[in-house]
Symmetry: C2
Subunit: 410 residues, 2 copies
C-alpha cells in the first residue's frame, strides 16, 4: 500500500548531507528544505491563514496538547480536521504534545516529578495534585512507564496521555503528519536519567506506531514521525536515531529539550543513522543561521516560534541581520523593513509607520512584523533549496551569513 | 477656483432627506451614503490597510490630537501624509482632536476645567497642572477664548491647541478633509454653558476657516468641514447649524458629546439648516439602526469605532442581529458568522474556529471579528445607497430593521 507521506529527493550534495526534495502529502507537496509555520492552537500568532499564501507558507505544525485542552480534538474533528478548521488547504502536522506536557513541570521552575513504575501512576498523580492545588495548579506532570498524568494549565483539571491516547487525539485532529508520543526531559537531566527516558520514549514510539498502523483509516491518510531523543548526549542521540531507524516510521523528528549548540553539533551523526529516503524534521529550531547548519546536516523541515515571537516584540529579520524597529533611527525611515524582501509588508509599509504602530501599542505592528519575519524565513529556505539545486549551497550560505552575522555582531 | 472637495448628488428622495451621491476628493471618490473607517492613530484597530479593499472601506478618518502626540505631525508629513503613511490610497479625513482634548477632562471622571477669559490661560494651565501632577497626570484640559491647554495622556507634558495650531497640524497630516477646531462640552453641561461653548466654537470655526483658506497650498488640496455643536439642546443645534451654514465650509460635521437619542432626534432639523450641496458627516455614530435614521435625516457619511471595539470583544453584527461568538451554541457551528455576508472572514472561517480563537486568547479572533463587522457596515450602507437609487429605501430599511431588531430584543 502506498504510504500517505513520502519524500522524493531531487538532489543531494556530495559535500554535505544537504538535499532538496518534495514531501508528498494528502494535502499537497512541501518543497524541501522548508520552514513550517507554527500554529500551536490552529493559528499562527497574529497571522491568519488568509495571509499564508502571501507569506509563502507551505505547511503548518499545530500542537495536540493545546488542541486537546481547547477546543478539544472532537471540535477540531467536527470542523474537518486541523487544516480545514483553520481554513488552510495545505499540508499540516501535529506535534504529539510531549514537550508541552513535560514543560508544565519545567515551565514554572519545578522539575518534572517522576514516580517509580511500582506505584500506581494515576493514584500517585492525584495524591500529588491534591497536595499541590492548595497553592497553585497546572504545574505538575508525572511520568510512569505507561504514560503521563498532568494537570491542565487552564483549570488544574487532571488529564492523562499515553502513546495510544496521543494517537487517538492526533487521529481526530487529522493532520497529514503526526508525531509519536515522547518523553521530553529537562535539558539539565543527567546521562542516567536521559538514558532511562530515552528508552521509555523508544517503547512509547513502538506503541505509538502500533496504535497508528492498527487504525486503518488514519493509517491511510496520515503519516507518523518518530521522535529522536537523548538530550545533549551524542551517544544517546545516536543510539536513539539508530533504534528508531529500525522502526517503520514515515519520517523522523529530532526533538527534546536541549540547547541549540548541543543539538546542532550532533545532527549530522544523528541523520547518518536515519534512513535517507525518509523526511527529517527539526523540532523548534529555525533561525537563519540554524537552518544552514540543519540543511547541511540533512534536515528537510524546520519549525520555530521565533518569527512571530520576535515580530510581536518589534524584532525583525533582514538580509543585513536582526534589528529592532523601535530604534530611534527608524522614526522617519520611509524605507521598508528590508529592501531585498518581497513580502507584502515591505511592499506597502515603511519602517517609520511600523515603528509608530509599536510605539502606539497598536496590534497591527506585531502583525506586520510577524508577517515579514515569516516571509523572510520561508524565502530564505526557498533560496537555500534553489542553491542546493544549483550546486551553490556553500557559496550562498557563506555570502548570506557573512552579511547577516556581521550585523548581529554590532 | 475648483474646491478639492465637492458633493455630487445623484438622487434625493421625496419622502425624506435621504440622498445618494459621490464626494469627490483628491484621493478618489466616496460613494455616499458611506461608512468611514476610524483610523485614530493611522490604523484601524486590528486591521491593516492591506485588508481595506476586501472590507469595502472607501475612506478613513484619523485623529489630529493622537497623531500630533505620536508620532508627531511632522513624521506623518515626512511619510507623505496620513494616507500614504498608512499605505492607503483612498480619501482620508482628520478630526481636529477637539473631542479628544476635552475628553481628557471627562474621561477620568473630572469635569473639564474652565478659566475665565481674564486669566492668562497658559499660566493658569500650568498652575493647575502642577497641583495635579502630584497624584496623576493627563487629566486636565483648560479652555479659554483663545484655545485650550491640556496635558498629554502619555507623559503629562503640557500642550496647547488653538484653531490656528489645529489647522497647522491638520495641514501637515495632509488628509483630504479636515475639521475645524471645536469645543466639545460635557453631555451633561447646562444650557447656559452649552450656549457659551457653542458661541466660542463658532468663533473658532471662523478662525479655523480663515487659517485654512489663507494657506494657499493646503486650501488647494484639502477641504474643511465645520462642526455643529449645541449638545442635547435642539434650539442650540439649530442655531449652530444656521450660523455655520453661513460660513464657507466645504462640508459639515455634526459632533460633540451627546447621547445618541438626543442627536438622532434633531438631525433632520439641523440638516434642514445646512446647504444641500455640501456633504454632512455624523461624527462617532454608525451602528446599523443609527445609519438608517441618519440617512433619512440627510447624513452622507458616518464613522464609528464600534465595529472594531465590538469585534475585539467577540460581538459581531449579522443580518439577524448582534450576537456574541463566545456563546456556547457556537462551539461546533461550522457555519460562517453570517450566511448572507460576502466578507473574506465569512467565506473562510467558521463560528466554531473564531470562537476557539477568542476562548484561547488568540489575537486573530479580534482581527477576524473586526474585519467582518467592518464589512458588514460598509455593505449595509452600500445596500442603503442602492435602495435610495432604486427608490426602495423605506422598504429596505423596514425589512432590515425588522430582522435585525427582533434578534436584538431576544
Amino acid at each position: 500500500m502506498k504510504r500517505p507521506i513520502s519524500l522524493e529527493i531531487l538532489k543531494e550534495l556530495p559535500t554535505s548531507q544537504a538535499r532538496a526534495g518534495v514531501i508528498h502529502t494528502p494535502h499537497g507537496d512541501i518543497k524541501t528544505p522548508a520552514f513550517i509555520a507554527v500554529a500551536t492552537k490552529a493559528t499562527t500568532k497574529g497571522l491568519g491563514s488568509f495571509m499564508y499564501e502571501d507569506m509563502g507558507i507551505q505547511a503548518v505544525i499545530a500542537n495536540a496538547y493545546h488542541l486537546y485542552l481547547t477546543p478539544g480534538e472532537k471540535t477540531v474533528e467536527k470542523g474537518g480536521g486541523v487544516g480545514k478548521f483553520m481554513s488552510f488547504q495545505g499540508p499540516t502536522m501535529t506535534d504529539s504534545g510531549g514537550f508541552q506536557v513535560f514543560s508544565l513541570g519545567e515551565g514554572f521552575g519545578k522539575k518534572v516529578s517522576k514516580v517509580s513504575v511500582e506505584e500506581k501512576p494515576r493514584e500517585a498523580a492525584i495524591a500529588v495534585f491534591d497536595e499541590d492545588i492548595a497553592t497553585s495548579h497546572g504545574k505538575l506532570a508525572i511520568v510512569d512507564d505507561e504514560g503521563v498524568s498532568f494537570t491542565s494549565h487552564h483549570d488544574g483539571s487532571l488529564h492523562r496521555f499515553t502513546p495510544e491516547r496521543s494517537m487517538e487525539i492526533q487521529h481526530a485532529l487529522g493532520a497529514d503528519i503526526i508525531f509519536a508520543f515522547d518523553e521530553c526531559t529537562s535539558p539539565t537531566a543527567d546521562h542516567a536519567y536521559q538514558k532511562e527516558a530515552m528508552d521509555r520514549t523508544h517503547r512509547w514510539a513502538k506503541r505509538s506506531l502500533a496504535a497508528h498502523r492498527q487504525d486503518i483509516d488514519a493509517n491511510a491518510k496520515q503519516g507518523i514521525y518518530g521522535i529522536i531523543q537523548g538530550g545533549r548526549y551524542p551517544d544517546l542521540r545516536i543510539e536513539s536515531a539508530h533504534e528508531l531507524a529500525d522502526m517503520d516510521f514515515d519520517g523522523y523528528g529530532i526533538g527534546g529539550s536541549f540547547s541549540k549548540q548541543d543539538i546542532l553539533g550532533i545532527l549530522e551523526k544523528v541523520n547518518t543513522e536515519l534512513p535517507k529516503e525518509k523526511p527529517r524534521h527539526l523540532l523548534g529550531i529555525g533561525e537563519p543561521e540554524d537552518m544552514f547548519i540543519g540543511v547541511a546536516a540533512g534536515i528537510d523541515t524546520f519549525d520555530c516560534v521565533l518569527p512571530t515571537r520576535n515580530g510581536r516584540n518589534a524584532t525583525v529579520y533582514t538580509f543585513g541581520g536582526k534589528t529592532s524597529l523601535e530604534r530611534a533611527l527608524n522614526i522617519d525611515d520611509q524605507g521598508p523593513i528590508d529592501r531585498e524582501c518581497d513580502c507584502f509588508v515591505c511592499k506597502r509599509y515603511s519602517r517609520s509607520y511600523i515603528r509608530h504602530l509599536f510605539k502606539s501599542g497598536e496590534m497591527l505592528g506585531g502583525v506586520l512584523a510577524s508577517a515579514h519575519n515569516m516571509r523572510f524565513l520561508t524565502r530564505l529556505v526557498e533560496n537555500i533549496r534553489q542553491s542546493i539545486l544549483d550546486d551553490s549551497f556553500e557559496s550562498y550560505r557563506d555570502a548570506f551569513l557573512s552579511a547577516y552575522m556581521r550585523q548581529q555582531a554590532k
